[in-house]
Amino acid sequence: MTNAIHVEALTHSYTRADSRTLILDSVEMSVPSGQSVALIGRSGSGKSTLLNLISGLEPVKQGNVSINGQSLLNLNDHQRTRLRGRQIGFIYQAFNLIHTLSVKDNVALPLALSGVHSGTAYARVKQLMDAVGLAGREEDYPDRLSGGEQQRVAIARALVHEPALILADEPTGNLDANSGRQVMQLLRDLVQQQGSAMLLVTHSQEVARSADSALLLNNGKVEVVDTLALEQSAAW
């Protein structure tokens, strides 16, 4: 069985005011295909940084990352972008929708960028809008939707091109508990339907427990944690 994500000896540091801060220190981890894995860790521990490296938004400087068996190490920016465009869907805490594009166009963006014909694309967009329960809101603009609605649009965008891997960075962090739960449920269902793998950053024990397994990022190292023993973990 191949891994959707495979990370080997990944090291990353930032230079800030002349001093280097090590964020990731020889991280080893993997996410098997089709599985949901939760990533937990203290604020500032480097979770977002890890996700950015995996998705190729930031170049890997030391160590290696493979997506569905494809190593990112020897890929240039162009090739990484292509890979990301086809195989990864990203969901952010801050939604990151384009405010001057309608909901429909926001969702269609990944398809349009990979050259899918607009007829086909919008049919698929329609399908997903129904799935996330936003049918009829296609022509609205994102900055006039509620947080929960915006995140559902972001989910639709992340899934629209049926990527094998979903990266979600605290998708419910900006939502109240209730709508957070709904959005999570929706995300889990859709990911399962598509059979995609998902790496999900979360601060919620409840969310972490519902995943197939959980990883803890602490002091630059990633270790597998027992979801049942989460209460005792230092991660919260």
């Binding site: 938004l57 405010h99 349009a112």
Partner: protein, 850 residues
């Protein structure tokens, strides 16, 4: 404390966006610089003009002139009769030294004492104090040499001429030598530049004036004036010393007005640029300001902070702008002086005008428009509710709703401008206002047009791929920003198109006119000193000798002289044409059916179009001309003819008529029509052999050579306009650059999202470049109708009112292409840097949760 925190916030913003700060400064520097440069240029040449006439006239209150100079004998009589009156004989002419034209003033040293001419009365000092003369490096004996000339100390220094040197003078094509006896110091060295002084007898000989002097200068009180008036014969005219200057000033008025038009255009674009940069500097921090508001900072405090910032930036930038204007103007002054020398009279501008007023004006312009622009943006930023400030789509929707209203206001303003331009007014100011209204109105209409054009083209563009589709969408979705940038570029480009069409139409009208007017195959003239307009005479028998030359079919003769009329001093062309129908002259208006017959009759003449327009004269009317034999005489106007030769107007008189009123048999030019099938060059050689003599060199030119030269002078005349036009485009370029940069930086996050969703760097580059391409194309396309309207106003209103020339407007096809290329190229050029930056920004940084 709070003020400090806010100031630190501004400071940090600009530290993080150095490009924004630099652009704000460059924008103001260029805006202020161009306007100041034109102002300085305009003022320098006008001041130089005032100074040079001051140098020529000194204390003179009146001058006595005749229709063909004044007899020297009369001066002697007058002097003996009115011993108490200060009077001095003067001969004025132009000569050239090393191809540079100087005014030569022939004076009588003994009569000069009271006149204080060229400020410090050089002759007075030279004759009264030998010591002073010696201190200038010469002795009295040197000054008494018959070939002595004096030059101002400044000119001598500038032109590296030294006292005691022999100089070669070019007088109407002949070489003469003179002795540079002394330099004189003048209270006003600038006024005296380009002015040579000599003893009247020597100058008379040099300029071949026979026993004529140019005029008698007088210092009169009222009583003396009356006494003199009584004594004077009808054929001499006593004038206020200033009146000639007025005529000369009127000549260059049109020219200076055109310069002013360009400076207004520069001003408009400059203000726009400043507005643009300041607006963007504020708008970029909308969110920041919103957060500050939420934290409890009042909108008053925020406004104050923004205004202080605007004043700080704009005052530094304005000072730099004024300095830039000063340097630019020295180049522009050279161009304008050359044009004035070509077209009107000899003018030396040595000093570039500068005054505290200019600094005040530059500062007012720079700081004023910055503060206004910044406060409009600040009011907007401070008044929008802090939550909405973050909702970009709301801002866009609001501006989209505003566009139809703006467009309607624009149409109304344009209509007002159009109405104003067709009203039968004579005021130039009204013409300029009309033009500005049309530009402003169209500018307001542009964003609305852009919105609708891009929207309606969307389905078509969508088919061309994602990059173009996103690019086109980006334009109408961000119309509040893109509309402004497109309008700016469009206006700047339309100005170049409008000016191109105007110059093109003008040039082709002149070209056609030259073709029609230059009826002779060969023209013979006595060369005038360099480029001045006063002609010298041909030898008396040249007419008959030319007629007798082999291959010559017919000969026409002409003579140009300056005459006094009821509407001022005007140049008059006296001709004996080839045929009885004048030939070549295009008559725009005639008195009766046979104007040429009427013209050759006693007491008739024709006038050129500018004269008719400016003084409301018509065919069938009359004009008083000061003649040599009968003083003021009324002449009937037989027709009005087209003439692009001079903007101050021209009289055309038949030789036979002229001879009745003047005793001036000389001719200054011959026009020769050849028999068919003779070689032009051969006849020219023959004519040169028969007509030339050592003391009278000739200029013999074929019709085509004159035609070409005239067009060269024409092109030179518009060089200043062209230069200014490019400066305006430069200013606009910086404007569009800063607009695009600000627009795209503002959208950095949007592009980061695109990148995260799978858009490669190339795709981002493509989108941005495609967008600037479309913006450029839109700006260029919209510039065409606006430019056309501008050219119509320039041709039919402004030029007609300032020069009096009517012309046929025509559309130069290549100018259309050039305009589109200019717009697209400058937009794309301005887009390269933002595109590059956007494709390189770190995606992760932009997407960090804020």
């Amino acid at each position: 404390m709070l003020a400090h925190i806010l100031a630190r916030s501004s400071w940090r913003f600009y530290r993080q966006h150095p490009a924004q700060l630099l652009l704000s400064i460059i924008g103001i520097v260029l805006g202020v610089g161009v306007v100041c440069a034109v102002l300085i240029t305009n003022n320098s040449s006008q001041r130089a003009f005032a100074l040079s006439t001051e140098a020529l006239y000194g204390n003179t209150t009146h001058e006595l002139i005749g229709a063909n100079g004044v007899d020297q004998q009369f001066y002697v009589e007058l002097r003996n009769r009115f011993t108490s009156i200060n009077m001095a004989p003067v001969i004025v002419g132009n000569i050239a030294i090393n191809d540079e034209v100087y005014s030569l003033l022939g004076l009588d040293p003994f009569a000069e004492l009271a006149f204080n001419r060229a400020s410090n009365s050089p002759f007075a000092s030279a004759t009264t104090s030998q010591q002073q003369a010696e201190s200038n490096g010469s002795s009295l004996t040197d000054l008494l040499r018959t070939d002595a000339l004096l030059i101002s100390e400044k000119s001598a220094r500038d032109k590296q001429l030294s006292v005691g040197q022999m100089i070669t003078l070019d007088v109407a094509g002949q070489k003469h030598s003179a002795y540079l006896a002394a330099t004189y110091q003048s209270d006003n060295p600038v006024a005296a530049t380009g002015l040579l002084l000599g003893d009247i007898a020597f100058v008379q000989k040099l300029l071949q004036r026979g026993d004529k002097i140019s005029r008698i200068d007088l210092i009169l009180d009222d009583e003396q004036e009356l006494a003199l008036q009584e004594y004077l014969p009808q054929t001499l005219q006593l004038k206020q010393a200033g009146s000639r200057t007025d005529t000369m000033r009127a000549m260059t008025r049109g020219f200076h007005i055109n310069l002013t038009a360009m400076s207004l255009l520069a001003l408009l674009v400059g203000i726009f640029l400043i507005h643009n940069t300041m607006t963007f500097a504020v708008v970029q921090r909308r969110e920041l300001f919103a957060i500050m508001r939420i934290t409890g900072i009042t909108s008053r405090t925020l406004m104050k902070n923004i205004l202080i910032e605007a004043v700080a930036i704009s005052s530094i930038a304005s000072m730099i702008g004024i300095a830039l204007g000063y340097f630019l103007s020295s180049a522009l002054v050279k161009l304008t002086t050359r044009t004035i020398n070509d077209l009107y009279f000899v003018l030396h501008v040595q000093e570039v005008w500068f005054s505290p007023w200019l600094i005040a004006l530059g500062l007012a312009l720079g700081i004023g428009s910055s503060v206004i622009a910044a406060s409009i943006a600040a009011i907007d930023a401070a008044s929008t509710n802090p939550v909405q400030a973050r909702q970009r789509s709301l801002i866009e929707e609001r501006s989209q709703r505003l566009l139809p209203l703006l467009a309607m206001i624009g149409v109304v303003i344009m209509a007002a401008g159009a109405l104003l331009s067709v009203l039968p007014l004579r005021s130039l100011v009204a013409g300029f206002i009309a033009m500005m209204l049309i530009i402003l109105g169209f500018g307001l209409l542009i964003p609305w047009l852009v919105l609708h054009i891009t929207r309606s083209l969307k389905p078509l563009i969508d088919k061309l791929g994602i990059s173009l589709s996103l690019a086109a969408g980006g334009i109408y979705r961000n119309i509040s920003r893109t509309g402004l940038a497109i309008a700016a570029l469009s206006i700047a480009v339309s100005a170049t198109f409008g000016v191109d069409v105007m110059i093109g139409s003008f040039r082709s009208s002149v070209d056609n006119w030259l073709k029609a007017t230059l009826q002779s195959d060969i023209y013979i003239t006595a060369p005038a000193a360099a480029s001045t307009q006063t002609a010298s005479m041909l030898s008396p028998d040249s007419y008959s000798r030319a007629t007798g030359t082999l291959g010559v079919a017919s000969v026409s003769s002409g003579r140009t002289l300056q005459v006094s009329t009821s509407v001022g001093d005007i140049s008059m062309l006296v001709i004996k044409p080839h045929s009885s129908d004048g030939g070549g002259f295009e008559l725009l208006e005639t008195d009766g059916d046979s104007p040429w017959q009427l013209w050759s009759a006693d007491q008739s003449l024709m006038i050129s179009e500018p004269l008719a327009t400016k003084h409301k004269l018509q065919a069938g009317g009359s004009i008083d001309v000061f003649t040599q034999n009968k003083g003021f005489t009324s002449f009937n106007i037989a027709a009005v003819f087209r003439d692009y030769g001079s903007s101050q107007g021209k009289l055309l008189m038949a030789r036979d008529v002229f001879d009745l009123y003047w005793q001036a048999p000389g001719i200054s030019s011959l026009g020769i029509v050849l028999n068919n099938s003779v070689e032009v060059e051969l006849v020219i050689d023959q004519l040169r052999a028969t007509l030339a003599s050592s003391e009278r060199p000739l200029s013999i030119q074929s019709n085509t050579a004159i035609h070409e030269q005239s067009l060269i002078v024409f092109d030179r005349t518009f060089e200043v306009t062209r230069v200014l036009r490019w400066l305006t485009v430069g200013v606009a370029f910086v404007g569009i650059f800063s607009a695009l940069l600000a627009l795209h930086l503002e959208r950095a996050k949007e592009f980061a999202i695109l990148r995260a969703s799978g858009a490669t760097r190339q795709t981002v580059l493509m989108i941005v470049m495609a967008q600037t391409f479309i913006m450029g194309l839109l700006a260029g396309t919209l510039a065409l109708p606006l430019g056309w309207m501008m050219s119509e106003v320039l041709i039919k209103v402004i030029n007609l009112r300032s020069f009096g020339w009517s012309m046929q407007s025509m559309l130069p096809v290549d100018a259309i292409g050039e305009t589109l290329v200019l717009a697209v190229a400058s937009a794309m050029l301005a887009g390269i840097y933002p595109a590059y930056k956007l494709s390189r920004t770190g995606i992760a940084e932009q997407l960090r949760d804020d």
